[in-house]
């Protein structure tokens, strides 16, 4: 079990702010505004290199129309610092699930350190001011480019009924279907099948769920990460904004929750109990982004109580999968 960080999170945050300011002095600042539902977020990059790595998946969220800023994220690369960057002072025993470094309950700052990539996110929870540092913008892993800034957006967008959840989402004017389940369960397969058969696309992996009032899914990223094949190394990242821009949906009311399971053969849609859906979805979401002590679980429970839930045996025929999503939307309407 991780211990509470002994080194001061707030002191480290202050040092990181100074490091960011030096990076801006060296590189200049590139400012971008993004909108997610009713939240407008300001991103201030020190230099343009990191913006080039992180913004493509968020390009559709760009918002130059003005308005109040909900949260600010300051971003820079360690390589932009003329001085040695402030070293990360905590070790493995301090780091909890998801890379979370937690201080006492009274600490206003939390940190998330992604050991593999070296990315660091610091959050001043009182001010909704966030810092995001990466070692090198040119070395950001492909999966971070496909779905960047997850920890930062978790805090920047969370609260007041909003939750970043692990789910895909597709739909049309009838509403949206959330695709809930662990990595590898078939969310992307179903989302892309629905996309190519004419349904609107919001996400294959992460959505912003606005659960206050009518539950609404808001798109965050426009990418879809397609499983690799022997001919294609790694996952191919499809940017729907480039490939099928007319299919993008920014938000849809949630009409159903669908839990895909890779089975092969014929697709089969079945009613599921709320408990079945919650068991498939809640642990995955709570453990994917374990930054809110599982508070999201109650939100997901309320959602699956309120809309019909289904399981979908993911077969080999994309048309059948799209048909199953369409059927779920129809059943949800009846």
């Amino acid at each position: 079990m991780p211990r509470l960080a002994e080194a001061g999170l707030e002191a480290f945050y202050s040092a990181a702010v100074r490091e960011y300011e030096v990076a801006v002095e060296c590189e200049g600042v590139v400012e971008r505004y993004l909108r997610f539902g009713d939240c407008r977020v300001r991103l201030r990059f020190a230099g343009g290199g990191l913006a080039g790595a992180l913004l493509p998946a968020l390009a559709q969220r760009r918002d130059d129309a003005g308005g109040a800023v909900h949260a600010t994220i300051d971003l820079w690369e360690e390589s932009a610092c003329p001085r040695r960057p402030v070293p990360f002072p905590w070790g493995a025993v301090d780091i909890g699930p998801g890379g979370l470094v937690r201080g006492s309950e009274l600490d206003r700052v939390v940190a998330v350190h992604e050991t593999y990539s070296g990315a660091l996110t610091l959050v001043d929870r009182a001010e909704l001011a966030l810092l995001h540092r990466v070692p090198d913008g040119g070395a950001v892993p492909w999966w971070e480019r496909a779905a960047p800034l997850r920890p930062a957006l978790f805090w920047a967008l969370g609260g007041e009924g909003r939750h970043l959840v692990h789910a895909g989402a597709v739909g049309d004017d009838r509403g949206g279907v959330l695709l809930a389940g662990a990595s590898g369960s078939g969310k992307t397969t179903v989302a892309l099948a629905a996309l190519v058969h004419g349904l609107g696309y919001l996400a294959d992996d992460y959505v912003l769920l606005h659960a206050a009032g009518e539950p609404t899914a808001n798109s965050i990223y426009t990418t879809a990460s397609v499983a690799g094949t022997p001919q294609v190394e790694g996952k191919a990242v499809l940017d729907v904004a480039v490939s099928l821009p007319g299919s993008l949906r920014e938000s849809l009311p949630v009409r159903a929750v669908l839990v895909p399971r890779i089975r092969g053969g014929r697709a089969r849609l079945r009613r599921a109990s709320p408990a079945d859906a919650l068991r498939a979805w809640a642990p995955d979401t709570a453990l994917h982004m374990p930054f809110d002590d599982g508070a999201v679980v109650a939100v997901l429970a309320a959602l699956v109580r309120g809309v019909p839930c289904f399981t979908l045996d993911v077969g080999d025929d994309a048309g059948e999968l799209a048909g199953a999503v369409d059927q779920a939307l129809e059943l949800a309407r009846s």
């Binding site: 699930p97 892993p141 492909w142 990595s183 690799g228 190394e233 996952k235 408990a275 599982g294």
Partner: protein, 142 residues
């Protein structure tokens, strides 16, 4: 037993829906489900019931061999403690009497269903390496 038991918050989060309790241990990555009698026992224990009074309350609630009932519910509570879902906490107020639902139902030994499929994912991020081909959250193999 005799100690005050409480849910191991904030490391454990739980929700009961349709008579099924779903418990998630956010540190170990293991999650659990309990239905029927197991969910009832979890419900009263999560509400701060005195484990010493649980056997007597179970004997009133459930039809069956008293020895089997006592053994079944005690074993479940021991499992819940062993898995770190319930912890002893002397700072909590005195435990209360278990309030199991009214009426009598046949006893069946409660089973704590345990799911560990998310544990690898917990280890991958951030302390272990990621498979560069499959990407996060898949662990490097070999």
């Amino acid at each position: 037993m005799g100690a005050t038991l409480t849910v191991n918050a904030p490391h454990v989060v739980h929700e009961t829906i349709d008579g099924e309790a779903i418990l998630i241990h956010l540190v170990t990555g293991t999650y659990y489900s309990l239905d029927g009698i197991g969910a009832e026992v979890w419900g009263v224990m999560a509400a701060g019931a005195d484990p010493d009074l649980l056997v007597a309350a179970a004997a009133e609630r459930y039809d069956g061999d008293p020895v089997e009932i006592a053994g079944g519910v005690s074993s479940l509570v021991e499992q819940l403690v062993g898995e770190g879902l319930l912890i002893e906490d002397e700072s909590q107020p005195a435990a209360n009497a278990p309030r199991l639902p009214a009426g009598r139902v046949p006893f069946a030994v409660p089973v704590l269903n345990t799911y560990t499929d998310m544990q690898e994912f917990m280890l991958v991020d951030p302390l272990h390496e990621v498979d560069e081909v499959a990407g996060w959250p898949h662990a490097k193999t070999g």
